[in-house]
């Protein structure tokens, strides 16, 4: 089983560079599934999302999900990067790349990590509002809790 690469950082990331690191020089990978999560403006009501995280535990929880995915499916490479700090609409928040010989493992692996990361990784989003009023903390969604259940 491969060891996933997990990074929590404030800097932006380069999806194609990360993909290249997983595929370069290899001829056994047939499938690359990638997910990128972007910051939305909610109809221009937001100027940014501020992401708070629990250093140490954030990495540990993502790593747990990623390792479980790599055990569950024949995954050849996995990279997960999650940002924290102030992120503006249109900017990238999270990246998951899973590579495999076949597409099912790559798709399942990437989606599994996203589903568990959403509810288990200690990150919290606070809204920065365009109208200057104090922003709320984003509420957790029931649908995210439900999404985890599909892997039972």
């Amino acid at each position: 089983m491969i060891a996933p690469k997990v990074i929590v950082q404030s800097d932006d990331f380069d999806q194609s560079a990360e993909t290249r690191k997983l595929t370069r020089g290899r001829t056994d990978i047939g499938a690359v599934a990638t997910f990128t999560g972007l910051c939305r403006s909610e109809d221009h009501s937001l100027t940014a999302l501020e992401l708070e995280h629990y250093p140490g535990m954030a990495e540990a929880e993502i790593e747990r999900s990623a390792s479980e995915a790599c055990q569950r499916w024949p995954i050849d490479g996995m990279t997960v990067i999650h940002r924290y700090g102030v992120i503006r609409p249109g900017e990238q928040i999270v990246l998951v790349i899973a590579t495999s010989r076949h597409r099912d493992a790559a798709f399942d692996g990437a989606r599994y990590v996203m589903d568990f990361l959403k509810t288990n990784a200690p990150f919290w989003k606070k809204e920065h509002r365009a109208d200057g009023t104090p922003g709320d903390w984003v509420d957790a969604k029931e649908s995210d809790e439900a999404a985890k259940k599909r892997w039972d």
């Binding site: 999560g37 992401l51 708070e52 995280h53 629990y54 140490g56 535990m57 954030a58 540990a60 929880e61 999650h82 928040i93 999270v94 996203m114 990361l117 959403k118 509810t119 288990n120 990784a121 200690p122 990150f123 919290w124 989003k125 606070k126 903390w137 984003v138 509420d139 957790a140 969604k141 995210d144």
Partner: protein
């Protein structure tokens, strides 16, 4: 007295309501479970009472591991209280 001197972290709106990100807390010996700890903290002052008004929704981690509220505390070095997560 093994529970004494645990570092407690607060995140998101819990951090805002209690007015600090972390502190070192000496828990009384009578506090044996996560649930009892939340109850005890609620009684500390008005800010904690407001932050932990609905204890059922508070998530707790002991030494960076998610735990249920009926979990025994034992002697964690690090305790964290936070709302449901919204990353990704």
């Amino acid at each position: 007295m093994t529970k004494n001197g645990a570092k407690v972290h607060y995140f998101s709106w819990i951090r805002e309501r209690v007015g600090m990100g972390e502190e070192t807390v000496n828990l009384p010996d009578s506090v044996e479970t996560v649930s009892q700890m939340l109850q005890w903290m609620q009684g500390r002052n008005d800010q904690f009472a407001a932050a932990l008004e609905f204890p059922d929704i508070i998530r707790v981690a002991l030494d960076q591991q998610h735990v249920e509220h009926d979990q025994r505390l034992d002697s964690p070095r690090e305790i964290a209280l936070f709302p449901p997560m919204t990353g990704g």
